[in-house]
Symmetry: C2
Subunit: 214 residues, 2 copies
């Protein structure tokens, strides 16, 4: 069966976004420091349709993560456009422009019913109001035997982790502190719900910890 796979960058003090998140600053104050290693990387930039970048020890980690993914599930904050109901005049279509970098079906957890959005390049956004298990079921069906990427943000990840539904987690630990912001593991409980550390790739800028369900 296709796996639910999750990757995220986290500070040493457990934050995946800085404080004072807003539409203008979705990563929060200092949050960009968590992603500097990725934006420097050719493999990550290519995924976003950007040129340039380097090849280093993190390259295989990123390539491995993006391979064999057939669908994405994400939370409402990751998709954006909140607060408030959808604006019928100028509907929000996500952060990624007209040709989002997914190129496969994306299922957005939300409390607001909305018709699916077909974007350029093969990405469709389907809005799911029936909860995380239903979104995963729809994604699994759409993934065509490939895996499902859990795209974040923290709240969606917490729900899937706490429910024991995550099969793989690639935690990219950035050796810095944010001091405040949104924590990845808040409310997840006192164990990893069946996930076990299986592989570490250490670089000076980021340490990649890969967990798998045994």
């Amino acid at each position: 069966m296709s796996k639910l796979r999750f990757r995220i960058s986290m500070s040493l003090d457990g934050f995946v976004a800085g404080p004072e998140q807003s539409v203008a600053s979705p990563l929060g104050k200092g949050g960009e420091r968590l992603h500097a290693w990725a934006f420097a990387l050719a493999a990550f930039r290519a995924h976003l349709g950007l040129e340039g970048g380097e090849v280093n020890e993190s390259t295989p980690v990123v390539e491995e993560f993006f391979a064999h993914v057939g669908a994405t599930v994400m939370g409402r904050n990751m998709f954006g456009g909140h607060p408030g109901p959808w604006d019928a005049e100028r509907p929000w279509t996500g952060w990624w422009g007209l040709n989002p970098p997914f190129h496969h079906p994306v299922f957005v957890l939300t409390h607001h019913r909305r018709a699916p959005l077909e974007m350029k390049g093969g990405t469709t956004f389907t809005f799911v109001t029936e909860g995380i298990e239903r979104a995963l079921e729809l994604a699994r069906r759409a993934a065509g035997g490939k895996d499902i990427s859990l795209g974040g943000g923290a709240k969606a990840a917490q729900q899937y982790l706490a429910a024991g539904l995550v099969d793989e987690m690639e935690l990219s630990l950035v050796p810095t502190l944010l001091g405040a912001g949104e924590r990845l593991f808040d409310g997840v409980g006192n164990d990893l719900h069946g996930l076990t550390l299986m592989r570490t790739v250490a670089t000076p800028r980021v340490v990649h910890l890969k967990f798998e369900r045994r």
Copy 2:
């Protein structure tokens, strides 16, 4: 100059002790899971005067940490015996019995004046009421050119980290969650105060991240 070196075990969600800490349970609920890797290790057990244990990839990390240390600084919670003033009838002498495993001068941060305690095996406890910098100064003088170990707990570590006085930090990251308890980096700010990740030793049970001041 002799370095101030700090080692501690931390969960993936940033806790160095579990919830509900007490004299009967100084590590808090679940806190023993942070130290299982160390107690399994011959090099660590020998330091506590215990027999047995294994040799594995963590052995050199522990040996390196315990080598070349001439004095220890620790916080009041690490020494224990609080709350309340010292009991003159049955004075608290720490958690470690009559022959503590330090075998060198130990400086305890406290608000309570108390005469030094000379223990068996070369350990002396000196109580310092004039703050972290004074304790470090006394430890440096007593260390005889060797390094100083910052013995914890979290609150003492936070003060030395925030003041930029830690020269080396060996963070042993245990791939589990505690969900609640005492966090290492609370109040330390939004950077590592000059510390840089210099070396990683990864094992399935623990990932050792060594930070040094550049």
